[in-house]
Each structure stands twice: as C-alpha cells, then as structure tokens.
Amino acid sequence: MKRLLMTLALVWGILISPAVQAQPAPGLAENPPGTNPEEGAGMTETDPLAAFNTKMFWFNRKLDDYFLHPVATGYAKVVPQPARRSVGRFIDNVSVIPRFANNLFQLRLKQAATEAARFGINTTVGLAGLFDPADKWFGLKENRDDFGLTLGRYSVPSGPYLVLPFFGPSTIRDAVGRVADGAMNPMSYLLPWNITIPATAGEYLADAINYRSLNLNLFEDVDRFSIDVYGAVQDGYTQRRAAAQRTVNTDSLLPKSQTP
C-alpha cells in the first residue's frame, strides 16, 4: 500500500507543472456580449466520469481540510502577505518556459515575446523574479498559457471533465497538457530523476500552499453561495477554460480554419 502510494505520488510528480492555471487577465477574454439567455437554456454539462470525479473531488476536499488549508493558514500567520506574493511571483517566473513555448506553438508571437521580455526584466531588475517591474513599469502583463490550450487551438476536443487527485478540476485533454508542460521543465533534462521528481513535487507543493495562503477564503466562498459545490466547481472550470481558449484563439496568428 505504501509502495503504491509512493508510486502514485511519483507519477503525479512527473505530471506536475506548477500552477498552470489559465486565467486570462480580467477584461481581456472576450465574452460574446449579451448572448440571449434563451440560447444557453438547454445547455448542461456532461460528466461521464462522474463516479470517479466525485470520489476525487471528495479526496481533494479532505486533503484541503486536513492539510492544505491548515498549513496555509499557519504559513499566512508567519509570513506577511507581500512576501507571499513575492514567493508566488518567483515560482511564476521560473516556470516561464511552458508559457513561452505554448504561446509560440499557438503563434501568439506578441505574447511569446512579452513572456521572454518579462523573464529578462523580472529575473534581473525584479531580483530573480521576486518582483514584477515588467508589469509595473512597462505594462507587460503575463500571458498564462498551457499545452491544453495549444491542443485546443489545434481543434483537439477537451474530452470529458476529469477531477485529478491533488490537482483538481481538469479534462482528459488538459491532463495530457499537464504532462507535456511538465516535460518542458528544463530541470528534467539537466538533473537525474531522483532529484528532479522530489524537487518538482516540492515546488508544486510550495506553490499550492503559497497560493492557498493568498486565497484562504477560496472554498468558503464557493460553499457559501453554492447549492451544489461539485457542480459549481465543474462549471467554473469549464467556463474559465472556455474564456482562456477564446483569448488564445483571438490572439493566435494561425490561419483561422484551424479554429474549432
């Protein structure tokens, strides 16, 4: 059992790419404005993997209740918020490669160039990425991107909704995207696996705790306003990804025929 758990942890370790969350900057993603409420009335999300997903959702909630939330709360008490935001920026800065590469894959050239410039500025002037002068002084905003969105740009369907243990909501396609993004981590080529895997896992864990500490009320808010929390998270993920995909498709210089 212990071995199985360890193997599982290792497998997930490989899949790790820290916080590959496609969150477009507010106002950037174009919602089709004023869509007729009638149109969406029949739309409901399908969930063929519901049996598995419900268990994983429960597992992640327990993991959060008993580990992530208490640890993040303690951490937030000790480390002041500006420092925690710097930690988040630092991790974000070192994981530039998947963002840059995926922007490039999608022919979002301006965004890829922005990522490169951001890395250059923030690594030097921004003291190894602890600060974000690229945004503050030059208005260069981060362009979150991942391989799931690249696949989407090349018309690969997202497949069923999938809740991953440790990582939360995803889809079959986005889970594959995670593996690809993790493989882009240059550390995996430079260092032996027995260093890379724990190091990547550690990085993911640090990022998760840090992120949670900055969003301590994340689940409490969802709980308060939801009738069905699972459904709220599922739909929230689906809508956010759709918005991120719209942003990608708008920016992309690939021929439009490629757009699904």
């Binding site: 969150q23 477009p24 900057a25 507010p26 106002g27 993603a29 919602n31 089709p32 404005p33 004023g34 869509t35 007729n36 409420p37 009638e38 969406g40 009335a41 029949g42 739309m43 409901t44 999300e45 918020q81 500006p82 935001r85 900055l214 308060r224 306003f225 939801s226 009738i227 069905d228 699972y230 459904g231 709220a232 599922q234 739909d235 929230g236 809508q239 956010r240 918005a243």
Partner: protein
C-alpha cells in the same frame, strides 16, 4: 426721387420684411413642430440612457448606501435600501427562469412562482452578503459592448490592493424602455450558467423539491449570517 424711391423702397422693404418675417415665423413654427415631432422618439430614447451610464448609476448607489455613515448602525435599513436598489436594476425572475434551463418547462405555474420567489430571495441574500464585504475598493468601468439593439455588456474591474483585479461584467437586456441586468460574470464565469449546472445536477439526482429545500436552507443560512 431718391428719397421717395428710398422711402418706397423702404416701404417695400418693410412689406417684404413683414412677409419674410411671416414666412420666417411659419418656418420657425414648422421647425419647432418638426423638432417636437422628432423629439418625441428622441425623448423616448433618452429615457433609456446607455447601459454603461445605467450600471454606473446603480453601482454608485450601492457604494453610497454602503459608505453612508448614517446607515452603518442600522443594518436592516441598509439591507432594505440595498435590496430596493438591486430590484430596480436586476431581473431576478429572468435569471431564475434561465438558471432552471430545460427544467422550467416541466414545472407547474405554482412551482414556477415558488421557485422564482425563493431564487430571488436567495440571490438577494448572496448578493447583499457579497456587497457587505465591500471596503472601499475602486471600481473601473472598462467598456461597453452591444449585441444588437436589445443586448449589451458592461465590463468593470474591481481593484483590490495587493491582489489581482476581479473582472465583474454585467449583461443587460432592454426591457421596454429600461436596461435590466439578466446575468453577471465574475472572472469570466457567468453566474446564471453556473447555477444552471448546479440546479440541473440536483434536479437530475434528487428532484425539484430537493432543490427547493436545499436552496431554502442556503438562503436562511445566508440571511442569518448577514443579520449578524
């Protein structure tokens, strides 16, 4: 001769001027009438200002109530003011109907009425408890997009110090002469669509009555938490 000519000319001139002025007057009157006729549809249009102005007025009203020192101590009066302001601008019945999706047509008239009543109270409670956590954040009005003459979206950003701004967009529909909000998106998540997925799951798993009792429990919980 010159003088008479002049005087004659003067008389003619006056006569012409008289006729002219009469013509002018008629012209003026005609113009006024035409303008008045034109103004009728113009005034009708003026009764529905652009969606951005409308949303801004509602947001300003909310902020005014929330920051009013006189209302600080009187929680129930403040809640009533917030509720009234929300009711002016938000079409809760439309939101509820839309959030039920396909299940709406399976309901009896009584069930529909009960649902819309409860949904309105639930969304009000949720919205007000959100509003009451307002602590002076700056709200930027980003842009307005129109989709045909009857639909519009107003994008705003809620600026919070030390965190990323939250994108808060209002979707409006022209109802009669007035723009009403029928959906709100928070960070690109449509609230109505999100509830639609939740409601659909609950109804499919446990039926409409279970949805009603769950929502009632949630609404009462929110109400007591606001009352505190």
């Amino acid at each position: 001769m010159i003088g008479t000519g002049l005087s004659h000319g003067g008389e003619r001139g006056r006569a012409v001027a008289k006729r002219l002025s009469a013509a002018r007057f008629r012209l003026l009157a005609g113009a006024v009438l035409a303008a008045a006729a034109l103004a009728l549809p113009l005034r009708a249009a003026a009764a529905a200002p652009d969606p951005m102005t409308i949303v801004k007025a509602t947001v300003d009203k909310f902020v005014g109530i929330l920051t009013d020192p006189a209302l600080k101590s009187d929680v129930s009066a403040r809640r009533q003011r917030l509720k009234d302001t929300a009711a002016e601008r938000f079409d809760f019945a439309e939101m509820g109907r839309s959030a039920l999706g396909v299940h709406w047509r399976d309901l009896s008239d009584q069930q529909r009425k009960d649902f819309v009543d409860l949904f309105t109270r639930f969304v009000e409670a949720a919205y007000i408890s959100r509003l009451e956590s307002y602590s002076g954040q700056q709200i930027d009005f980003v842009k307005e997009t129109n989709d045909g003459p009857d639909y519009a979206q107003v994008n705003t950003n809620v600026i919070q110090p030390g965190a990323d701004p939250i994108g808060l967009n209002y979707r409006l529909k022209l109802e009669g002469n007035d723009w009403k909000v029928y959906d709100v998106t928070v960070d690109n998540i449509s609230i109505v669509a999100n509830y639609r997925n939740q409601f659909n799951r609950v109804i499919n798993d446990r039926g409409f009555d279970a949805l009603m009792s769950d929502m009632r429990a949630k609404q009462e919980g929110l109400d007591t938490s606001i009352a505190k």
